[in-house]
């Protein structure tokens, strides 16, 4: 017996929690690396500005970490509360990476605490900088382990089912499933990319506000260079992910690309609107999908016609795919233009409109992250474990899920507003000009 409304509300609540959590989680994975790079550049060049950059980023970072930690705890517990049957199975096969994630998290928490409270305590900045290595590693490793759990849901393996019972369980085989390499890599680099663009947004916004300080210019230049590297890597690994899907999860790729019939020389559908089962206003790139899926313009790509109708993901994920890809392209070009422009002294890169383009990068990259996760997760429907357990089989049977959804929505609104208010207040009162002046005062 399945309680249908509980299934629906469980999905909505999980989606709400994750949508809110990944904003803070992505920042939490990427920003430690940015702080480390800034501190390292500052230490290498003996440039106080970069050290200060690291320090100010860290201060804001603590607020986002707090929200990330508490919403992460929420999703961790909600997995068992909303999907008890799934977790019972996951506990038997995939508990290892979940468990390892807590160690990575522990490790990060300890060293972040130490890093925060030892500014100026050590005789050299180098010792202090070394503390950031475990923070950055811990942050990235927890993303690695939790993404492994998610990739298992897309490509379950490492066990046999005999008469409905799981036997012959191999935890490591379950961890190193075929979805894991592309997923983990894509999550990591896109988190670094997003963090770079969010910090660049802040720097560009400060410059727009009239603070013409060299500090913001240095920050922007550094972040734009990092932006090129990470958005290129994100796009490259995104392409590998497409090839993975073609091989192992063709129905997700077919639904995302509106590829209805299995054909060779498959065209790629860009944009377009689905209207009564007909695609309108699309731009098709000949051979595009075959190239995307198999690096061969003539290769055959499996279409939706090969799957029973009740195993096809919702077709709206095509829009999510478009959003993600277009933002990704845009955010590769913007920093490229900026860095080349800087080298060749093009004047427009310092114009107001171009700064606004850079400011848009932060929010856009968050939108791309959200769209990408929705695409990945909705594209896995109707399965919670692809090919093995349908979503409704994993859900709780409790009747109070809708009420809990309401409570959690209120919580996320409170946390979202609270964190923005606190962050604004933190930096409004203590501008960079003021902080530099104060620190000079200390040195005198």
């Amino acid at each position: 017996m399945i309680n249908e409304s509980a299934v629906f509300w469980s999905r909505v609540l999980t989606e709400t929690t994750l949508t809110f959590h990944i904003i803070y989680a992505t920042i939490g994975v990427g920003i430690p690396l940015m702080i480390m790079i800034a501190q390292w550049v500052g230490y290498k060049n003996n440039d106080e500005h970069y050290i200060l950059l690291a320090r100010r980023w860290t201060r804001g970072f603590v607020i986002t970490v707090a929200v990330g930690v508490v919403t992460g705890t929420a999703i961790g517990l909600q997995l068992s509360l909303l999907w008890p049957n799934f977790m019972q199975l996951a506990g038997q096969v995939i508990a290892l990476p979940l468990f390892m994630e807590t160690f990575a998290f522990f490790f990060e928490a300890i060293f972040l605490g130490i890093y925060l409270y030892t500014w100026d305590r050590f005789d050299s900045q180098k010792k202090h900088m070394l503390l950031l290595i475990p923070v950055a590693i811990g942050a990235s490793m927890s993303a690695v382990f939790i993404t492994i759990v998610n990739s298992f849901m897309n490509a379950p393996q490492g066990f046999d089912v005999v008469n409905g019972e799981l036997v012959n369980i191999q935890p490591l085989i379950a961890m190193f499933n075929p979805a894991m390499p592309t997923k983990v890599a894509h999550v990591l680099v896109s988190a670094y990319m997003t963090s770079a663009f969010i910090l660049a947004s802040i720097a560009a916004f400060r410059l727009l506000q009239g603070s013409n300080h060299i500090y913001h210019k240095k920050a922007l230049f550094l972040l734009m260079k990092l932006g090129i590297v990470f958005s290129f890597a994100t796009a490259l690994i995104g392409d590998f992910s497409g090839k993975y899907l073609a091989e192992y999860q063709p129905e997700k790729l077919a639904a995302a690309e509106w590829h209805f019939e299995t054909t060779g020389e498959a065209p790629l559908v860009l944009l377009g609107i689905m209207d009564d089962g007909e695609v309108r206003y699309e731009i098709t790139v000949p051979y595009g999908l075959s190239i995307l899926a198999h690096s061969n313009p003539f290769a055959e790509v499996i279409g939706l016609d090969e799957f029973p109708p009740d195993e096809i993901p919702p077709l709206y994920i095509h829009y999510l795919f478009n959003i993600m890809v277009f933002i990704g392209m845009f955010l590769f070009l913007v920093p490229l233009v900026y860095v080349i422009g800087k080298r060749r002294s093009w004047s427009f890169i310092n114009k107001k409109w171009f700064r606004w383009v850079i400011v848009s990068g932060g929010p856009l990259s968050i939108i791309a992250i959200e769209a990408g996760w929705w695409l990945a997760e909705v594209g896995r429907q109707p399965w919670i474990l692809r090919g093995l357990m349908r979503t409704e089989q994993g859900a709780t049977t409790s009747d109070q899920v809708d009420l809990m959804l309401l409570l959690f929505c209120i919580l996320y609104i409170v946390l979202g507003i609270g964190s923005i208010v606190v962050l604004r207040r933190m930096f409004r009162a203590n501008t960079i000009e003021r902080e530099i002046a104060e620190r000079k005062l200390e040195k005198r």
Binding site: A90, I110, Y117
Partner: protein, 341 residues
């Protein structure tokens, strides 16, 4: 020792770690808010801040460790407890979220914000109350199996004197543990005023603690005779715990050996906590689920134990470093160093 017992012992130890560090944390938040209301915050808040700031995030991980570990070692708990605990645990999560983030908001963002401090102090007191519901449920009598699925009887749970005694015990324990620890910490920070205030709170909360603890054992006789008998059979451990409690209170009364008092306090709770845990054996949820039924497959158990040992190799030195730099660093504790970001 077989793997089931090893697994449950590891988890129980981490839960004990959480109970101690979280009690200090929750109680500190409450005392901070209380002294703010009674205009005595100048005495305490610096001491509390200095202790909590570097460790608040670590405290949270102990809990995460426990609930991730239990699903790993005992996947059936996800089915039983996951299904019945939706409402009580969701409330705990919300309180934990408000508390954790408002702590950060107050101490890094808007220092001295009264509303944030109050939200964080009060939620801290409600969290142990809401989490302790899990302990009550594990005693049995509140869960029926309908169509092969567990269903929680809310009415029975909220009208049971046992639930409310456990709630009271958890609150009293939180305030007592926290007060004793902060008495020592303030004394170590050369702050006799704060130390005296905390000593007063410790002595105030010692009485309700012992009354509720004894009361629960009495109530258990009617509620769950099997469990009561195994508690009685472990009487030497509970007696030892009681004696340690008396010595701790004696030291506090006489205003001496605060450091030793903290150590005795930890042992007092360790004896009671582990004796309670042993008396619960072999049930995870009386009478539906035992640790033998719920245990994961051997391959996963071995993998988890290996991961656990490797994890500890990383964790213990890091925790040692944390303690050396803050808790046992004279200059930091006395506030001589203030290296905040």
């Amino acid at each position: 020792m077989n793997l089931e017992v090893l697994g449950v012992t590891v988890l129980w130890t981490f839960l004990f770690g959480y109970v101690i560090v979280a009690s200090i944390d929750f109680g500190a938040g409450f005392f901070n808010a209380y002294t703010l209301l009674t205009n005595r915050s100048h005495i305490l808040s610096d001491i509390i801040k200095r202790y909590l700031s570097p460790v608040w995030e670590v405290t949270n991980v102990f809990l995460v460790f426990f609930f991730v570990g239990i699903v790993g070692f005992f996947p059936l708990t996800a089915f039983y407890y996951g299904t019945i605990l939706l409402v009580p645990v969701s409330i705990s999560i919300i309180l934990l979220a408000v508390r954790g983030s408002y702590y950060a908001f107050e101490s890094y963002g808007a220092a001295g914000h009264k509303g944030y401090a109050l939200a964080y102090g009060l939620s801290g007191l409600l969290i142990p109350a809401s989490l302790s519901v899990v302990l009550t449920i594990s005693e049995g009598g509140f869960v029926d199996i309908v169509d092969g699925r567990p269903v929680l009887d809310f009415w029975a749970l909220y009208t049971s004197p046992l639930s409310w005694s456990i709630v009271l015990l958890s609150i009293a324990a939180v305030l007592y543990i926290s007060a004793v620890f902060l008495t020592w910490y303030a004394w170590k920070a050369n702050d006799p005023q704060a130390s005296d205030l905390m000593r007063k709170y410790s002595l105030i909360w010692a009485l309700p603690l012992i009354i509720t603890a004894i009361g629960i054992i009495v109530e258990m006789r009617d509620h769950n005779a099997v469990h009561f008998n195994s508690i009685v059979s472990l009487w030497p451990l509970f007696l030892l715990s009681g004696l340690l409690f008396l010595v701790t209170v004696w030291f506090l009364w006489k205003k001496r050996n605060y450091g030793l008092a903290v150590i005795l306090l930890i042992f007092q709770f360790a004896f009671a906590f582990f004796a309670y845990g042993i008396s619960h054996y072999p049930y995870l949820l009386y009478p539906h689920l035992t640790i033998h039924q719920g245990f994961t497959n051997t391959e996963m158990a071995i993998a988890l134990v290996i991961a656990f040992i490797l994890g500890l190799c990383l964790l213990l030195p890091s925790l040692y470093l944390l303690f050396r730099l803050f808790l046992f660093n004279k200059k930091y504790v006395t506030g001589e160093r203030n290296d905040h970001v």
